[in-house]
């Protein structure tokens, strides 16, 4: 699904990612944990194609050179980043974005545009699943949404687009336990043998609900430790300090 080799990323000569390697197979859930500023969001951004980084190394996604693709083509090829801080876009309605995004993906797959009625009934069902009112569909993207509503809106987009590689960047932070369950249920409903997840989180709490196959620790732009879900418990217990001594 995804093979990252020796990935470096810097901004204005400031090195952020410094030789990151990671391989993800279809169906796997990888959790990435790490202290603030270790480069977790940068990893998500670089994979999604955000400009502004000097990038080297290689990333292969479904046998394609991911780094050479424009961000919209990455999305159309099934990559999805749930942003740590989803931004507000006044004047663009949520429902417009959802439909345009879905149709862009379908077009890339050679499929016709989605039927308007089918789309609406599917959206209405999925917005219930993330526990948002229907009027959120007709509001501008994230405009005036609370922190939790923004995160749920990211999950709604994920549910509609049914991506094949999903990166969740601290989707759990700032959520109460009910909202956390909504997010986890959404993610779990999409788990399948041909879909993979990178779950970036600060807290092991989320991993009680989204059980990972692997846990990695990112520090100073590199993966410094990898293990099973018990690694998350150890981090919860002992913090990141022991890694410096290791």
């Amino acid at each position: 699904m995804l093979t990252i080799k020796d990935l470096h990323a810097s901004v204005d000569n400031k090195a952020i990612l410094q030789g990151l390697n990671l391989t993800i197979k279809p169906g796997e859930v990888h959790a990435i944990m790490g202290p603030n500023g270790s480069g977790k969001s940068t990893l998500g951004n670089v994979l999604a194609g955000r400009e502004g980084y000097e990038v080297s190394g290689s990333v292969t996604y479904h046998n394609q050179d991911l780094l050479s693709l424009a961000p919209e083509l990455r999305a159309q090829a099934g990559l999805f980043l749930a942003f740590q801080y989803p931004i507000e876009i006044p004047g663009v309605s949520n429902v417009y974005l959802l439909k345009a995004a879905l149709n862009a993906k379908r077009k890339a797959q050679g499929l016709p545009e989605v039927d308007a009625m089918d789309f609406l009934s599917s959206v209405k069902e999925k917005i219930k699943a993330v526990d948002l009112d229907q009027d959120f569909l007709y509001r501008s993207v994230n405009e005036g949404f609370s922190g939790g509503e923004k995160k749920r809106n990211e999950i709604l987009q994920m549910l509609i687009l049914e991506p094949s590689l999903i990166i969740l960047d601290e989707t759990d932070s700032g959520l109460d336990i009910d909202a956390l369950k909504v997010v986890a249920d959404g993610v779990n409903s999409l788990r399948s043998p041909d879909r993979s997840f990178i779950v970036i989180t600060h807290y092991q709490r989320l991993l009680d609900y989204i059980v990972p196959d692997f846990v990695h620790v990112l520090a100073n732009g590199k993966i410094v430790a990898s293990g099973g879900k018990e690694l998350a418990l150890k981090l919860e217990d002992q913090g990141y300090g022991w890694l410096d001594n290791a």
Partner: protein
């Protein structure tokens, strides 16, 4: 330059018949001859390059005929219709309420003569218009009009390299109400020069709504000068959409003459290629207790120039004035230029004035967010979002679709 001044003097001498306004017209042609066209040294014209006007000798627009097949799709449903072709009213294509007629037929009326005689001949294009105007509309409304009045101003191939000098008078009587939609459409792709002066007179408690759609062809020059006088308790709402033309300059010279009147003017401008689009507004609070609001948005792409100048003057006696001015512009190319200038001159002490002006760019973060969702034309989507709040003020679906199409920018 001198050559074109002589040219317009000759047009005046040879083509403008004597009428009730001849003394005013004589003064006007003299005033124009002394000034010529504005140059970059004229403060309020300094960002416009008027070379074409100074060099091209536009002759007077000939009359022409209109193919109904061309006209019909342009007419908005559920409206009264006024159709002008090359500056001339086409009565056979009009369906109008009482009180609408050609200006030529009304020049003997003293009220109309007075209005025209008050033209500010120190403004060179107003002077040129006063000397040369051939015709225009008189719209007198004394009731509440049941339907909007859709005025189509068309220019066809016969109008190539010619000028139409138009003078229009709109008068809403006490308690009258009317919505006027002035839409300028080119049926030709060649250059022409429209120079129009409008008088809008709102009597006590009159309610006027005036929509303007400037969709001239990419070579057209269009000057539109509007003088708006508002009596007590009158309500004016103006909404302009400016997207066509090579060089378009609109002026609104508004004045409150009675208390408790309100004036709201809004507009959206899209400048592309080498277009020069310039809007100047001057709102004068000369009496107390009036409300004014300006809200303008605009975008400049390619090598275009967009100019906005909104001036609010609050006289010493205009206490309790409530004036707002907000502009938001997007500069979308490194070779485009935007000049915006809010000007507030306040001589009264008990007033409420709010203003804000921004010139920005599309948000990189918003662009990335949309692209990260697979959207290919993220830029066009954000531009549409920027335009939407003004486009949404158009209540008629057909007109809204037509104007929205003018403002759609390709990805």
């Amino acid at each position: 330059m001198l050559k074109t001044i002589t040219h317009y003097q000759q047009l005046f001498a040879n083509h403008i018949p004597a009428d009730a306004l001849t003394p005013v017209r004589n003064q006007a042609i003299d005033a124009f001859s002394a000034m010529g066209f504005p140059t970059n040294k004229t403060e309020s014209w300094k960002y416009l390059r008027l070379t074409v006007l100074r060099e091209q000798a536009f002759t007077l627009m000939p009359t022409s005929t209109l193919d109904p097949a061309v006209l019909t799709p342009l007419l908005l449903a559920d409206c009264y219709h006024v159709v002008c072709l090359n500056g001339a009213l086409m009565p056979q294509h009009c369906t109008v309420p009482q009180g609408v007629s050609a200006l030529r037929a009304r020049l003997d009326e003293s009220a109309i003569q007075t209005l025209i005689a008050q033209s500010d001949l120190s403004l060179s294009l107003v002077a040129l218009n006063t000397a040369l105007f051939q015709d225009g509309l008189v719209i007198d409304v004394h009731t509440k009009l049941d339907k909007p009045l859709h005025c189509l101003f068309l220019t066809d191939d016969a109008g190539a390299l010619t000028t139409s000098q138009q003078r229009h008078v709109v008068r809403l009587g006490a308690d009258a109400a009317a919505t006027i939609i002035a839409e300028h459409v080119s049926l030709t792709t060649t250059a022409f020069f429209t120079n129009a002066v409008w008088h809008l007179e709102l009597a006590e408690r009159a309610n006027g709504t005036y929509y303007q759609v400037f969709n001239d062809n990419p070579k057209a020059i269009h000057i539109d000068h509007c003088i708006l006088n508002q009596q007590a308790h009158s309500v004016y709402q103006g909404l302009s959409f400016l997207s066509g033309g090579a060089l378009v300059r609109t002026d609104l010279e508004q004045r409150f003459l009675g208390e408790h009147a309100s004036c709201s003017v809004k507009g959206l401008t899209l400048a592309q290629e080498k277009q020069q689009l310039d809007q100047h507004l001057r709102l004068s609070h000369s009496v107390a207790h009036c409300y004014s609001e300006q809200f303008f948005k605009g975008l400049a792409l390619d090598q275009s120039r967009l100019i906005f100048n909104g001036k609010v003057i609050v006289d010493q006696d205009a206490q309790k004035t409530d004036a707002h001015q907000h502009t938001k512009h997007l500069l979308l190319s490194s070779t485009a230029e935007i000049y915006t200038k809010p000007e507030l001159e306040i001589y009264a002490n008990d007033v409420k004035c709010a203003h804000g002006a921004t010139i920005g760019q599309l948000s990189d973060e918003a662009l990335f967010y949309l692209k990260s969702r697979g959207i290919t034309d993220a830029r066009a989507v954000l531009i549409k979002a920027f335009n939407q709040e003004l486009l949404d003020l158009l209540k008629w679906p057909v007109l809204k679709a037509r104007v929205s199409a003018l403002f759609a920018v390709k990805a």
